[in-house]
């Protein structure tokens, strides 16, 4: 008969009330809701009955205060334009939920403030943090580590940070795409990507460049950064057409850009793809397989990236400063690169 009904919306019941109704102690109800705790079947039933009548749900906030585990993992999204990342987000959400963790979603501020987002998550004492497509400052990263939150960084460099990096094999991708284009006979090649400071993009480009250079007779005629998304891709193509020599193959760092380039070539200039020009994307978004496109692109192992990230985050004994985990990506050949007709083809028969 304490001051219970103060106001109108104080309503979620407490373990105390359940205990009272069930005629047991608070400990008993706590133990009832704790797996493999010592409680007799009789009291367990009494407690459950009372809990049901009161609509009792344990307050995980209070619980986490004492267990020092919030069962929340934070995720900071650095990139939203690309549908690819929505897929990833969905996967994280579902798989974490399946393991009884909840996801706290933050967006990098317009000021690029990953650090402030990170600090926010620390205030909630999250058990771990996933950064997709963004990087914090090393200081704040260390601060997180010191506070006991494990850090996973997807698709970005983790140099001198107490974090485990996970991503696709950038160098492999650069090499494979270069080889594909070389084998198909393209010679004047353009490379276009977005943010020039992203390390993984640099690695990919570098491997691409090296492979092209090693071929002897092909070369990179354009190496452009700062173009991201469909519209910018399409606009870029206009520049490319004015360029001398005009590229006969374009490797884009995202499918969205590639589709813009593709439409620019076919619609704005009547260029025949893949005969006169090849276009390769990255990410294999759904639209890449649509009728008018059939874009040859690189499929990223997002499922495995997600699984590995969650593993690194949740397993108790994971080393938190090992080498980054890289996963092989696979090229999915559709119709924007002409079919190779050399020995590589004959070797496979057909």
């Amino acid at each position: 008969m304490k001051a219970r009904s103060r106001g109108l919306s104080r309503v979620s019941s407490t373990s105390h009330e359940v205990a009272e109704l069930a005629g047991v102690s608070r400990s008993a109800v706590s133990r009832t809701f704790t797996p493999d705790a010592s409680v007799s079947e009789a009291t367990r039933r009494k407690v459950l009955k009372a809990a049901a009548k009161l609509g009792y749900q344990p307050n995980v906030i209070a619980r986490s205060l004492i267990t020092r585990r919030s069962r929340i993992v934070g995720l900071i999204m650095g990139e939203w334009e690309n549908p690819f990342y929505a897929t990833m987000l969905r996967g994280f959400s579902e798989k974490l939920q399946a393991r009884d963790y909840q996801l706290m979603l933050l967006t990098r501020g317009p000021d690029g403030g990953v650090d402030s987002a990170l600090r926010l998550l620390m205030q909630y004492r999250v058990d771990g943090i996933i950064l997709v497509s963004c990087v914090p400052s090393p200081q704040v990263a260390r601060q997180c580590a010191r506070a006991g939150a494990r850090l996973v960084i997807v698709n970005r460099d983790t140099a001198d940070m107490p974090a485990v990096g996970i991503g696709a094999d950038a160098q492999g991708i650069g090499r494979d795409v270069a080889e594909l284009l070389l084998r198909a006979g393209y010679r004047n090649i353009a490379l276009v990507r977005g943010d020039p400071s992203v390390v993984v993009g640099i690695e990919r480009s570098e491997a691409f460049r090296v492979t092209i250079a090693a071929s002897g007779d092909a070369r990179i005629v354009i190496n452009q950064t700062g173009v991201v998304g469909y519209d910018q891709g399409r606009r870029f193509l206009h520049e490319a057409m004015r360029h001398d020599p005009r590229p006969d193959a374009i490797f884009c760092s995202s499918d969205l850009t590639a589709l813009g380039v593709l439409d620019g070539a076919r619609i704005d200039f009547g260029v025949s793809v893949p005969d006169q020009m090849a276009v390769v994307g990255l990410g294999d978004i759904p639209a890449a397989s649509w009728g008018p496109y059939a874009l040859t692109t690189v499929q990223l192992p997002v499922e495995r990236i997600i699984d590995a990230s969650i593993e690194a985050l949740l397993t108790p004994a994971a080393p938190d400063r090992g080498e980054p985990i890289v996963m092989a990506a696979t090229i999915v050949q559709r119709a924007t690169v002409r079919a190779v007709s050399d020995l590589a083809d004959r070797a496979h028969g057909s």
Copy 2:
């Protein structure tokens, strides 16, 4: 000198430690971090200095225990395929973050378990819950309301639920699209949508049907449910072509479906759009404006839906059982419906 350095990762410092270092009481440090609390400039500085040295961050979990506000809002995502919803998610994330709320993201379970997700959120004592494209059972919804969490349901029916519904004006959309097609001279019209049980879809279809029927000489020749996404849209078109009479206009409940239909018509059958057939989508996703498509579609007021949802969620005195809030949508005419050449056009000049 208590048992502080037990283990290796106990590290986030507490207000107690800061107080000790600053030579003040715990209350003082608490007040330093509480806006407009009574604390002198001198102690404030001492506290801030000590906090900085220790890397202290207030534990919002503990705070929320006493303030009874978690500053977390839950969001349950019922639909992931459509890029439209990623946009919405991003908006929610950014705008909530700007108002100092955090977003806890849940996905409806594969069993369609919205209820279990809701209960989970209740355990975290979230301040409010947003459901996008999914509905809970009325009982659980009531349970939430009783526990003091406000409920906002986007794009779904809220009949006899203690929740505020927010969405686009379904009937207006149905009517407007019907009128557009009628004015453009299409007569055999197909209506295709996804989940047949979604109330807002039913309302839209019904308004569409009524408007078509009122015209006298046009009619609905196909009214198909259960088709969702690009592939199913494209497959649906094959059925439609076999149908007698063959539709000369198709209104799809999502852009993705519409793009599939469009590709099916043009690529698989060589149908000329919009001359021989019109296609209209819903959602105005980025791909709708891409070169090969130029889809005529309905632009949903997502920005306003987000704002209204947040307002309804966060304003203290919002009525939580008012009429649903509906927002007008606007048709964006591109190139998959032939330009109208009747009086409506002449009335506007040109």
